[in-house]
C-alpha cells in the first residue's frame, strides 16, 4: 500500500516526459534517433513492469494533495489494473515491432513521441477518477491516433485520418456536452460524487439525455455498429504497429472502458441500458463478421473482424448488466462479465499479433490484397506460425486463450437461460473460422506469385515482438485456468463492474480516511 500510490502518477508521467524528450533527441542526428528509440522502448517496458506490479491492488491517489471533490484523484482498482496491463502489454510489443518497421518512414522520433503520447493518454483515461480529466486524456489519445493514422501521408491514409478525426471529434463534442449537462445537474466532476448525486435524483431526464450522449460519444470511439464507418479505413490504412494499437487497445480503452465505467460506476446499470448493450453487441458481432468475410484486403478484413470481436465483449458485459439489474443470478452475471473482460484481453493480444503479422507480410511483399498474395508459408515461416496461433486464438480453438473466453460466455449465457446468445456466439465463431481460413488459404498457401520469389523473413525486433505475443496467445489461457491468476487478474475486474455504484461509497470513504491521516 505504501509504495503503490507513488506509481500511479508515474503511469502518466513516464510516457509524457519521454514524449517531450523524444523530439529533442531526434533533432540530434543519427545517434540521437537511436537513443530516442532506446528511450521509447525502455519507457514502454518499464510501464509494463509497473502494470504487472500494480495488478489486484486498490489505491486512490489525490493529485496535488487536494482531497476530492476539490482536486482530481487517480483510482487503481481491479478494472483499471486489467486495462493497464492490456494497454502496456500491447504497446510494448507494438513499440518493439516499430523499431524496425518504421525504418521505412521519415521522422521516426516524432512517431515515437506520438506513440508515447497515445500510451500516456490511454493510461490517463483508465487511471483517472474524474470525468473531465477523462475527457482531456481521451483527447490526447485520440489526437495522437489521428496523427498516427495519417503518418505515412499517402492518399488513403490521409483520407482515413480525416474521416476518423471528424467522427472522433463529433464523439468528443458529445462527451463534452454530456459532461456539461452532468455538471449542470450535480455540480460535481468527480466520478464518485457524480454517482452519489445521480442516485439521489435518478429520474432526472437531463441525466438520461447525458447518458445517451455518453453512449453515442464513446460508441463513436468504440466503433459500435451504426458509427463504425471510420474503423475499417483507419485501421487498415495506418502503419501496422499503429493498427495493432488501435484495434488492440485504443477502441477498448476509449470506447469499452470509458463506456463501461460511465454506465456501471457512475449511472448504475439498468435493464434498459443492459439490453441496449446486448443489442449493440449482437449487431456488432453479426455485421462485423459478415462484412469481414467479403473483404479482399488483409488489413480491412482484420479491422472488420475487430468490430465483430468487440461485439462479444459488449454481449458479455451487457448480459451481465441485464442480470445484475434484474437482481436474480449474480453468479451468472459475474461470469458473463468475466467472460467479456477476458475476451477483451484475449482479443487485444491476438488481434494486435494479427496486425503485426499483416505488417510483416506487407513489408515483405509490398501488398496486402489477398488475391495478389499466396504461398508465403515457406518464405515467411515465422509470420505464418504467429498468424496461425493468433487466428486459432481468435476463432476459439481449444488450447488457446480465445477458446476459454468464448467458453465462459457460452456457459454464462446457457446458465442465465439466454440460449439464443449461446447459439449466436458459436455461430459467429464459425463465421470467424471461415474468414481466417480464407486468410490462410490466400496468404500462406497456394502459388507464390512470380514477383515475390526474392522475399525474406523479417528478422530482428519485428520477429521478437511477434514471438512474444504468440507465446502470450498460448499461455493466456492459464490466466483463466490457474485459479490464483484468475483471482488476481480477472475476478477483481469483474467484481468492480458487479459492484456497480458501490464504487462511489468506496472512493469517498477512502478519501475521508486519507484526510484524517493527513491531519
Amino acid at each position: 500500500m505504501s509504495d503503490i500510490p507513488l506509481v500511479l502518477p508515474a503511469f502518466v508521467c513516464i510516457p509524457l516526459v519521454a514524449a517531450f524528450l523524444l523530439p529533442i533527441f531526434g533533432s540530434f542526428g543519427r545517434k540521437g534517433r537511436a537513443a530516442a528509440t532506446a528511450l521509447a522502448n525502455l519507457a514502454t517496458i518499464s510501464l509494463l513492469v509497473m502494470s504487472i506490479a500494480s495488478i489486484n491492488q486498490f489505491s486512490v491517489y489525490n493529485v496535488g494533495k487536494w482531497s476530492i471533490p476539490l482536486g482530481i484523484n487517480m483510482v487503481l482498482d481491479g478494472l483499471t489494473g486489467l486495462f493497464l496491463i492490456t494497454v502496456n502489454l500491447v504497446s510494448s510489443a507494438a513499440m518493439l515491432f516499430s523499431v524496425r518497421y518504421m525504418e521505412q518512414y521519415t521522422a521516426k522520433p516524432k512517431y515515437l513521441s506520438l506513440f508515447m503520447l497515445m500510451v500516456a493518454g490511454m493510461n490517463g483515461v483508465v487511471l483517472t477518477g474524474d470525468l473531465f480529466n477523462l475527457f482531456v486524456f481521451l483527447e490526447i489519445a485520440s489526437i495522437a491516433s489521428y496523427a498516427l493514422v495519417g503518418f505515412g501521408c499517402e492518399d488513403e491514409q490521409l483520407e482515413a485520418s480525416f474521416k476518423y478525426m471528424v467522427l472522433g471529434e463529433v464523439g468528443s463534442m458529445f462527451v463534452l456536452l454530456a459532461i456539461g449537462l452532468v455538471y449542470g445537474v450535480t455540480g460535481a466532476l468527480n466520478m464518485a460524487y457524480i454517482s452519489k448525486a445521480v442516485q439521489n435524483n435518478s429520474a432526472n431526464v437531463v441525466l438520461n439525455f447525458a447518458l445517451a450522449l455518453f453512449i453515442a460519444g464513446f460508441g463513436l470511439k468504440a466503433a459500435l455498429v451504426p458509427f463504425h464507418s471510420w474503423l475499417p479505413d483507419a485501421h487498415s490504412s495506418a502503419p501496422a504497429p499503429i493498427s495493432a494499437m488501435l484495434s488492440g487497445v485504443l477502441i477498448k480503452v476509449l470506447g469499452v472502458y470509458a463506456l463501461v465505467r460511465t454506465i456501471f460506476s457512475i449511472f448504475g446499470i439498468s435493464s434498459t441500458v443492459g439490453n441496449l448493450l446486448v443489442v449493440l453487441g449482437v449487431v456488432n458481432m453479426i455485421a462485423g463478421a459478415f462484412l469481414a468475410i467479403g473483404q479482399g484486403d488483409l488489413k480491412r478484413l482484420l479491422a472488420y473482424s475487430s468490430i465483430s470481436q468487440v461485439g462479444y465483449v459488449f454481449l458479455g458485459i451487457g448480459l451481465g448488466g441485464t442480470l445484475l439489474a434484474a437482481k436474480t443470478d449474480s453468479v451468472w452475471a459475474s461470469l458473463a462479465i468475466l467472460g467479456g473482460l477476458f475476451h477483451l484481453l484475449n482479443h487485444a493480444v491476438s488481434k494486435s499479433l494479427l496486425f503485426l503479422t499483416s505488417g510483416s507480410v506487407e513489408m515483405s511483399t509490398g501488398t496486402r490484397q489477398l488475391n495478389q498474395l499466396g504461398g508465403l508459408a515457406e518464405k515467411l515461416p515465422l509470420t505464418r506460425a504467429a498468424c496461425a496461433i493468433a487466428s486459432a486464438s481468435i476463432v476459439g480453438i481449444p488450447p488457446f486463450g480465445g477458446f476459454w473466453s468464448k467458453l465462459i460466455l457460452v456457459i454464462a449465457a446457457i446458465g442465465a437461460g439466454v440460449y439464443w446468445a449461446a447459439a449466436l456466439i458459436v455461430a459467429v465463431s464459425v463465421c470467424t473460422l471461415i474468414m481466417y481460413l480464407k486468410v490462410h488459404r490466400y496468404v500462406f498457401l497456394g502459388e507464390l506469385p512470380e514477383s515475390q520469389r526474392q522475399i525474406k523473413e523479417n528478422r530482428g525486433s519485428m520477429a521478437v515482438a511477434m514471438i512474444c505475443l504468440a507465446c502470450l496467445c498460448v499461455l493466456i489461457g492459464l490466466v483463466f485456468l490457474v485459479p490464483s491468476l484468475r483471482a488476481e487478474v480477472l475476478e477483481p475486474a469483474a467484481k468492480v463492474l458487479s459492484d456497480g455504484v458501490r464504487y462511489a461509497d468506496k472512493i469517498i470513504e477512502i478519501s475521508k480516511d486519507m484526510l484524517v491521516c493527513a491531519d
Binding site: E139, F162, M165, E169, V170
Partner: protein, 122 residues
C-alpha cells in the same frame, strides 16, 4: 430559453459536420459545435448580476485573511471557466491538426469535396 438557443448553435454545427461535403465546411461545423459547448458550460455557471471570480482588494478582509461574503454570494462559478479554458485550447489544437490534414489531402486529390475523395470503399 438561452440554453435552447445555445443548443441550436450546437445542432447547426452538427448539421454542418454531417451533411456538408466540403472538408473545410466540416471543419467549420466542428468549430461551431465547439463554440456552442464552451458557451453552454460558461452559461451554466452564470449568476444574475454576478462578479468575475477574481478576488479584488475590495472583496478581501485583510484582518481575517478571508474573502468577504459579498464575494461569495455574487461570484460566478469558476469551475466551468477552468474547464472551458482547457477545452478552448483543445479546440485550437484540433483545428490546427485538422487543417493540416485538409491541406495535405487537397494536395493529393486536388479537391476539398469528400465525395470525390473515395479511394477507400465503405
Amino acid at each position: 430559453m438561452l440554453y435552447a438557443l445555445c443548443f441550436l448553435l450546437f445542432v447547426i454545427g452538427l448539421y454542418c459536420a454531417v451533411v456538408k461535403k466540403n472538408m473545410v465546411k466540416i471543419v467549420v461545423g466542428l468549430a461551431v459545435m465547439e463554440y456552442a459547448v464552451n458557451l453552454f458550460l460558461i452559461m451554466l455557471g452564470y449568476r444574475t448580476n454576478g462578479t468575475a471570480p477574481i478576488v479584488d482588494r475590495t472583496y478581501y478582509d485583510f484582518s481575517t485573511h478571508q474573502v468577504t461574503d459579498v464575494f461569495l454570494n455574487s461570484a460566478v462559478d469558476p469551475l466551468p471557466q477552468a474547464l472551458v479554458l482547457t477545452s478552448i485550447v483543445i479546440g485550437l489544437g484540433c483545428l490546427a491538426l485538422m487543417i493540416s490534414i485538409c491541406i495535405r489531402t487537397y494536395e493529393k486529390y486536388g479537391t476539398f469535396d469528400i465525395t470525390q475523395i473515395r479511394k477507400l470503399k465503405g
